[in-house]
């Protein structure tokens, strides 16, 4: 099991960086192109909840754990106080995530909004 961590500004512009890291690691696990595309869609979908469309003051800490043929990605938003973050997935998001990941969730356990997703190579 290996872990890679990155911290990026909580802006939609940096989601692409997160996507690229996810794709790079998935490629190491020999995911197919379709699986990599799915993973990127999942990363997009979940990160967008954290950054909002306008971005927020603060940063996202993303941790990628690879283990065999499985990648787990967790993301936590560390924001300036007073920012409202929606943490209930829309019906559409739930459907998208259930299609492109093994499992995915979004919650706000201790004040910081956080997501987690798992995808395994088929």
């Amino acid at each position: 099991m290996e872990t890679v961590s990155i911290k990026v500004p909580a802006s939609p512009a940096y989601i692409q960086v997160v996507r690229l890291v996810a794709a790079g690691l998935a490629s190491r696990l020999r995911f197919t192109l379709d699986e990599i595309e799915d993973l990127k869609i999942a990363v997009d979908e979940l990160c967008a909840y954290l950054t909002g469309s306008q971005g927020r003051e603060g940063d996202l800490r993303i941790e990628f754990t690879i283990d065999g043929d499985r990648i787990e990605i967790t993301g936590v938003g560390h924001f300036a106080p007073g920012q409202k973050v929606r943490t209930d997935l829309t019906e559409l998001s739930q459907m998208i995530l259930s299609t492109v990941t093994d499992s995915a969730s979004l919650a706000q356990p201790d004040g910081s909004p956080a997501f987690s997703l798992v995808k395994t190579r088929k």
């Binding site: 490629s27 020999r30 192109l33 799915d38 459907m95």
Partner: protein
């Protein structure tokens, strides 16, 4: 566009060029130039038509080609033995090609990556057929003669390519206009579509037909991007791009 299209003989064209080059003032010069443009607009249209299946309106292409024509008029040298139309053709075609190279991308992308993108599009579809499954990045890199990092970069950069909407009118060749969507052959999915439309945000209904279809096939039917690409007769990378863009649109619409 030109309404008084002239049909001059070769000698009359040369005479017009003589007048244009020797014009006394700017106004006279412009008059002669517009006659030269009208005389050759048919050539521009002819050449522009060769590019019309690339998803841009013919009218826009004629405009681009006309810029090439103006450049050729400015540079034409009467001492040359060649006819003007022969001289102008490569300039007009060059302008059209440059247009596709530079303007097709919503974001300026370095040429090296544009070429890589084109190469990847080919390799991905070829490998998909050969392997009977979606290829890995390593396989794509090997086939494209690129590094894995370049492939990942190339796939990501593909999102910047601005494809014309499938519902944009295309030139049907018989003077009538139709849209790409209407020309797509597909099973009738209207009944099934009704079901999912009813349960989802109305924003989804506002999407163009093809975007709806891709969303439906991917998330309601569970087809992979490669399968959807095969079915719609477009590349997997194009499916990826449309899907990404559509999801961003939906997300923004839902957030409002």
């Amino acid at each position: 566009m030109a309404t008084d299209r002239a049909t001059l003989t070769k000698d009359e064209v040369r005479e017009l060029f003589r007048l244009y080059i020797g014009a006394a003032d700017e106004e006279e010069k412009l008059q002669h130039r517009s006659k030269l443009v009208n005389q050759h607009i048919g050539l521009v249209e002819f050449l522009a038509r060769r590019f019309r299946n690339r998803g841009e309106p013919l009218e826009d292409l004629v405009q681009v080609g006309t810029i090439g024509l103006l450049k050729a008029i400015d540079r034409f040298d009467l001492d040359r033995e060649v006819e003007f139309s022969t001289y102008a053709t490569p300039t007009i075609v060059g302008e059209l090609k440059r247009h596709f190279r530079d303007k097709g991308w919503a974001v300026r992308v370095p040429r090296r990556l544009q070429e890589l993108h084109l190469e990847l599009t080919k390799v991905v579809s070829h490998l998909g057929q050969e392997l009977g499954r979606s290829p890995t990045v390593e396989e794509i890199a090997k086939a494209a003669g690129a590094t894995e990092e370049e492939v990942l970069e190339g796939l990501e950069i593909a999102q910047a390519y601005n494809f014309t909407s499938i519902d944009a009118p295309i030139d049907a060749g018989d003077g009538g206009s139709t849209s790409f969507a209407e020309q797509l052959g597909a099973e009738d999915e209207h009944l099934e579509n009704l079901e999912y439309r009813a349960s989802l945000a109305p924003e989804m209904q506002k999407l163009p037909e093809r975007e709806q279809q891709i969303l439906y096939l991917r998330f309601f039917k569970g087809q992979t991007q490669s399968e959807i690409a095969d079915r719609l007769g477009i590349s997997q990378m194009h499916v990826s791009r449309l899907l990404n863009r559509t999801l961003i649109q939906l997300r923004e619409a839902l957030e409002e």
